[in-house]
Amino acid sequence: MTQALRIRQLQKTYGNGFSALKGIDLEVQEGDFFALLGPNGAGKSTTIGILSSLVTKTSGQVEVFGHDLDTDLIGVKRCLGVVPQEFNFNQFEKTFDILVTQAGYYGIARKLAAERAEKYLKQLGLWDKRDVATRMLSGGMKRRLMIARALIHEPRLLILDEPTAGVDIELRRSMWSFLSELNAQGVTIILTTHYLEEAEQLCRNIAIIDHGKIAEHTSMRELLKTLHLETFVLDLKEPQTVAPDLQGYPVKLLDSHNLEVQVEKAQGMTALFAQLQAQGIEVLSLRNKTNRLEELFVSLVEKNLEETSA
């Protein structure tokens, strides 16, 4: 299978001496929906900056669909679409003009550019805003405009740096469905996000980057398998004053109606419910306290921090 992205020993040290990337290796296969996660300052945006020629690498090798960043930059740029974290378009231009101008930079003639602009503005629900100056758009609209702009030259690899930050849940879900459809059409997607639920829902493979190093690089399924402990919150029918004694399950009473229970993967929940029933405690509903991936992410980052400190 063709590799959409291949990174070898990528390093970046900024002018002030800060080492943002300490030799990362990364591979993303063609057609993948890939999550690149990491805490703030981990090196995600630096990696994306290097791929999109906005940051100069210190050393290492980057290939996008076989085009080397050092020897075939034009080839890399033609394959790549980038949706940055910050709004970076002219606030005084009209929405439609932003797309047609961007297409022009890629050498796309105006007629075709106008057709594509119409197609993507319609797909992303911005067609009725085509003649509006971009500064008048809402935050969610601006994010969608940046996605449309990144797609205008129909790239094979789309990189989205926190595309749903500050977007309401309804819009976020419509963006997920748009991106999933795009991926189904063959576009390889790399996503960085703080919404770990987003990565869990959309992505098949994942890399976690922390302190400029890759802490984990595997499939989402394999990663979730390593999760041993989950925390659930039970909604109790009758109020409780003290936490019940449940053999083998650490519990904490959050308030009179909410009980937090830690469950090891091997334990299952049958014995838990049997004990609750025996004590006459009725459960109305239960939910995960935190996202499963979030728990893993925190544990990996903490582990990495301990190793770095050591």
Binding site: T56, N88, G104, I108
Partner: protein, 259 residues
């Protein structure tokens, strides 16, 4: 190869079109002020004061200052168009749109410079039309006039680009026009012939490049000049080549744009 050339042509056209659209959209800030300022110059310096000054260089004073005022408008507008447009592109980070795209540094530079030259020419044309309300104007040497105005606009558009690359704030884009361009223009023989100056100050004036540009342009229109036209043209061509090389290198290095 032809595919690359075709893509470069489209990209260049796109940048120029974007630049023209920008200065046309904000015409009350870009085209109107120079027209008003120059109309005031024509009224005050040309009509009111000029009528008392009499002849200069064999022409009435109004005719003498018109070429200089046209050049002053071209210089200021070519420079300020590029410096403000490219700096605001950096400021709003929309320069990243260009940097992620497969556009060569030559195309980016040519596009922005062409935008500045076109605004300079448009304002120069407006000022020329305005001057016709105050005096008769006949062109002595059309080819030279066009060549000089094109070279001058290119020199200052390139200067504006370099200024924008180094600028970190809006203050930085007004320092050069205020403290360098305006004094050099006023001392560049727009309003007087340097023959009126003492010998020492005539020699000092010769190092002012704007003096050469204004006089070359005046020669194209009126047929009179204080300096050698050959030297003026050579100076402008060298300035274009040097400034282009510097601006291109800054773009390739990503100075002020790439981390």
């Amino acid at each position: 190869m032809s595919e690359h050339l075709s893509a470069a042509r489209v990209a260049l056209y796109t940048i120029v079109q974007k630049e023209v659209r920008r200065f046309m959209r904000i015409w009350p800030q870009t085209l109107l002020p120079p027209a008003i300022t120059m109309a005031l110059y024509f009224v005050i310096f040309g009509n009111l004061i000029g009528s008392r000054i009499g002849e200069m260089g064999g022409f009435d004073y109004m005719q003498y200052i018109v070429p200089g005022l046209i050049m002053m408008s071209v210089i200021t507008n070519a420079y300020s168009n590029v410096v403000s447009s490219f700096f605001s592109t950096k400021f709003q980070r929309s320069v990243e749109e260009l940097m992620v795209a497969p556009v060569s540094a030559h195309v980016i530079l040519l596009g922005y410079v062409a935008g500045g030259v076109l605004r300079g020419l448009m304002v120069g044309f407006i000022v020329t039309l305005l001057s016709l309300f105050f005096t008769d104007l006949s062109v002595h040497h059309l080819g030279l006039t066009v060549l000089v105005v094109l070279l001058t606009a290119t020199v200052f558009a390139l200067g504006g680009f370099i200024n924008a690359v180094y600028a970190r704030s809006f203050d930085d884009i007004s320092i050069i026009p205020t403290f360098v361009l305006t004094p050099l223009t006023y001392l560049g023989g727009v309003f007087y012939s340097i023959n009126l100056l003492p010998e020492f100050w005539q020699q000092v004036s010769m190092v002012n490049p704007i003096l050469h540009m204004v006089n070359a342009f005046r020669y194209g229109i009126l047929g009179v000049s204080d300096i050698s036209i050959g030297v003026a043209l050579a100076m402008m061509i060298v300035a274009v080549a040097v400034l282009y090389g510097v601006a291109w290198r800054l773009l390739v290095n990503g100075t002020g744009m790439r981390q």
